[in-house]
């Protein structure tokens, strides 16, 4: 058994019921009035801070919090309407409920309550800790010691406070909000403040994942294309980059730095610039079509970005231009660390370059880079930039739901649903589906890398 160290607030050795059972009257009081145990045991400043936190929370809840949570059940009942005002003789707008704000305030109340619950836990444990220290006749740390500890043992509280708050307010809260939106009918026809939206359960998922309606006839082709794109883009760049790295690093190539610099140059240019430039080059009157016509390859411009099938091939090829240099860089780093004696013995055994690659280089590389490949795969499923800047998801097709186009990935469709068509509930449902896909691949990657840590090396 570990013994609780001095000054330690948390310990797994005592749970809330044990504290309740063992504690004195002040400990029991601190379950209801935060910080009372701290004050009773000499930590007056700390106790007052807890008390102030409780007061602020209670004040907030009574003032607006409870109301916010209650409104969440219906997301508003009073629609904004037009009322004829006889005294002025015109229609005036009556102020209705704003479902979006109701949901947002509701979520923030939930988050604030969760944070209050955490503070309550901290205060109870902190009070109990102070009591135990006093009981053992040890020094109960005052507020000055606590502050000094913030720079030492408890530095994690100092360092993580701002990032934690940032993530709660700007990531977690919006995320909860958006997950909840997936279960409402917040779409183009239900836009606050003019209209209300309300809970509709799993309908969005049902219409996306079923078959037969236009939404699912958009979702499934886009989903399949996202998968095809993810795997093709990842593996084509992987093998292309590996080929380039092996070539540049092979013995006998002169000017290695120069070659590397050429490809690094394309990596250094911000991707959106390269993509915008290349998309202008591939247009109907772009330079590529102009040159191909001049050189006598074609008589009519090629529909690089305007025909669905052509566009799919184009984005994959342009992605090679973007992706090969960075893969080359990563693979180069691994190549240098490859055990040289393996190659020497292979050479003695009479293995040619092809055999060396298939039997040594590739197995080793694949072994080391599996986690990287899976990260790349997830990154490519969500590769917004390449699709958005090259084709904008286009060409549009009548078979698909509203703005969706033939090269749209789930993530670019999600972008369109949030910005142009404002079907937020659909967008949120798709985001949850994207999350599920990413999570499945990440979990696989995680289990792989854990397995790798245990192994000594590749056989």
């Amino acid at each position: 058994m570990r013994t609780p160290r001095k000054g330690k607030v948390y310990s797994r050795n005592y749970s809330l019921p044990t504290i309740w059972k063992n504690g004195n009257i002040y400990t029991k009081l601190s379950f209801f009035i935060w910080g009372s145990a701290n004050i009773a045991n000499g930590q007056i400043a700390k106790g007052l801070i807890f008390l102030a936190a409780q007061a602020a929370y209670v004040f907030y809840m009574i003032n607006t919090g409870i109301g916010n949570l209650m409104d969440m059940r219906t997301l508003g009942t009073e629609q904004q309407g037009k009322v004829f005002d006889e005294s002025i003789g015109i229609y005036i707008f009556s102020k209705g409920d704003n479902s979006m704000l109701i949901l947002l305030f509701g979520v923030s109340s939930v988050v604030i309550t969760l944070m209050a619950f955490a503070s309550w836990l901290i205060s109870v444990y902190s009070g109990e800790n102070a009591r135990k220290l006093k009981l053992a006749n040890r020094v109960v740390p005052g507020i000055r010691t606590d502050i000094r500890m913030l720079f030492d043992k408890n530095i994690y509280r100092l360092f993580l406070a701002v990032p934690f708050l940032g993530i709660i307010v700007f990531t977690v809260m919006p995320l909860i909000y958006m997950i909840l939106v997936a279960f409402t009918n917040y779409d183009a026809n239900h836009q606050p403040p003019g209209n209300l939206f309300t809970w509709i359960g799993f309908s969005n998922f049902k219409s996306l994942l079923s078959t037969g309606n236009q939404l699912s006839q958009t979702f499934w082709p886009i989903f399949i294309w996202t998968m095809i794109w993810g795997f093709t883009a990842t593996f084509s760049c992987y093998f292309g980059g590996m080929f380039l790295a092996i070539l540049i690093n092979s013995r006998g190539i002169k000017g290695k730095k120069l070659w590397r610099a050429v490809f690094m140059l394309t990596m250094a240019i911000p991707a959106f610039i390269s993509l915008l430039v290349i998309s202008t080059m591939l247009g109907k009157m772009g330079i590529i079509n102009v040159l191909l016509q001049q050189w006598g390859f074609i008589t009519d411009p090629l529909p690089f970005l305007t025909n669905g099938t052509w566009a799919k091939f184009t984005v994959i090829i342009v992605n090679l231009w973007i992706g090969i240099p960075s893969t080359m860089l990563i693979v180069s780093g691994i190549l240098i660390n490859l055990p040289a004696e393996l190659y020497e013995s292979a050479k003695i055994d009479g293995a040619g370059p092809v055999k060396t690659f298939t039997k040594i280089t590739f197995p080793y590389m694949f072994f080391v880079t599996t986690p990287y490949l899976i990260t790349q795969l997830i990154g490519n499923f969500n590769n917004f930039g390449v699709i958005f800047f090259l084709t904008g998801g286009g060409p549009l097709t009548l078979r698909y739901y509203r703005e969706a186009g033939e090269t749209d990935l789930l993530v670019t469709w999600l972008f369109k649903l949030t910005t142009t068509t404002t079907d937020y509930s659909l967008a949120a449902s798709i985001a949850i589906i994207i999350f599920t896909v990413s999570a499945v691949f990440s979990l696989y990657s995680y289990s792989r890398s854990r397995a790798m840590l245990d192994e000594e090396g590749f056989q």
Binding site: L101, L104, D152, I155, Y156, L160, V162, P163, F164, G166, I167, V169, F170, T171, M173, P174, L175, M178, S250, R251, G252, I253, W259, V262, L265, M267, A268, I269, P270, F272, I273, L276, V277, I278, S279, T280, M281, M285, G286, I287, V290, L291, Q294, W295, G296, W321, L329, G333, I334, T369, Y372, F384, G385, F389, L414, T418, Y424, A427, F435, A439
Partner: protein
Amino acid sequence: MKKQVIGMRMKYAAYAGAANIFLLTAMFLPYVKKEGCSLSAFALLSGIMGNGLSGLSYILAAAVCLPVILVLLGILNMIKPSIPVSKVMMVTGAVEALVMSLLIINSKKMIDLSGIAGDKFMVKDFGIGFWLALVLSYFALAAVMKSIKVHPGHIILALMSVVWLFPIVWIILTSLREESGYYVGYFFPKGLTLDNYRSMLDPAGVIPFAKWWSNTFYVAAAICVINTVIVLTTAFTLSRIRFAGRITLMKVMLIIGMFPGFMSMIAVYNILKGIGLAQTLTALVIVGAAGAAMGYYISKGFFDTIPKSLDEAAVIDGATKFQIFTRIILPLSKPILVYTVLTSFLGPWGDYIFPYMLLGDNSNSYTVAIGLNWLRDFRRIDTYYTQFAAGAVMVSLPIVILFLLLQRFYVEGLSGSVKG
């Protein structure tokens, strides 16, 4: 008796010699094959020469004459193998391969001008002789390179470099082009000028590019400072301090990171509106900084490799954790520090989604990514294409310089991410 020369592989020298003889023969096979018209390279050249040599036909002349030299050199090499002769052969072979490649793109103009083979020559009208000569010229070059142990991979690298540099050269040339407009029927501009840059930077001009640039710089600089501090402190805490909930926190961040970040932008927008910051650049900085901690991963991986015994020694000397961070860990982490600064500075330059969703449609608060995408729109591209190109160069240039200067650190950070 078999001739032996140190540093030479005769087998490949023989391949090269044979390939060059075939190459010469290919010049007599049909170069152009259209309905009722079949011309070898020689016939074509003599036909064009009848009309007087023009600029482009020099290329054809070179393509036809160089194989003769190559065959002679090959015979010389068979009689008395030597490395200098092979080197001359390699250079000549490289020129021949280059010339043959240039012929793919120049034949149409040359033949159409001469009028020998009717009008409207197309690439599909090339005869077997041309394609054979093209392939053989590369094969002979590779063989001669192998014979004197020069890696033939140089050929592939050179060809790949052309592909990779093509868009870069194009956009630089366009940015310097005097004639405006999207559609021009040629690669090299007719006149060069710096006006495109001038008009983009002109504060009174139509396009507030200078404003976009400084907006982006402001955001990038602010995010760079704040993110670096947040990422490094978070990474240090998660790597060095053991506290309750550490693993849980890391797992939660991993899971949160899997949601597409911008799906919740509409909520973020409303929160910012609530604080009164919507549609400002400060909002961009705050949102960027708020999520910064999620990128702790690579730095933590680096900190994990610094031996714990250093910390323990420092603790014995009475150092606090804060001092361990500032006096021990940070000075040892220069590569990851530079990496974090570099990536967090470069991030906002290429970021499109967040600015697009947070800044609204006030073109004065655009960042370069939104601005250039706005310029690229089909309604504006005809008028502003050369300015767009100048803008693209002006955004890329500082970043490329910064990146190439600090690439060592970038590579180190990247390889850290692979191991992690």
